[in-house]
Symmetry: C2
Amino acid sequence: MIKLLTNDTLGLIAGALTTLAFLPQIIKTYRSKSADEVSFATFTMFAVGVALWDLYGIKIHSIPVVVANSITFILSLSIVIMKVIFSINKK
Amino acid sequence: MIKLLTNDTLGLIAGALTTLAFLPQIIKTYRSKSADEVSFATFTMFAVGVALWDLYGIKIHSIPVVVANSITFILSLSIVIMKVIFSINKK
């Protein structure tokens, strides 16, 4: 089946999964108002990394890389922001 | 500076960041032996997604996409496995 997919379609499915993957973590963290077990370094490095993937996608003219990483950037950054806010509120 | 980087170099730096990003979460989870606040759905969807990114990278002949996502697959899967083991051990 994978052979039948165009490169862009496969990339968009992959991008949809790695992008939407962040939603359950966002919902879980928002509901529990706690993210002590979630690593700040992980999601910060991730946000910076996907910003660079965006630049890479622009340079190689890959629509799936640009679209997926732009959304992932916003989602991973929102986990970082929630973690900071909830950790301040706990003090 | 980014204009001076070749596409592959930029992709490899981006890949190094989004790949190494998982290490702090792995270390944190391994030390605390608890991952209740870490979303199972997030890291499972992520592992499947990066496996598809791998196929995409093979199809578009992008070394950075293949290398980064192969390592990310192993790391995100190890977070899923740790979460399952620690949650079983708690019962």
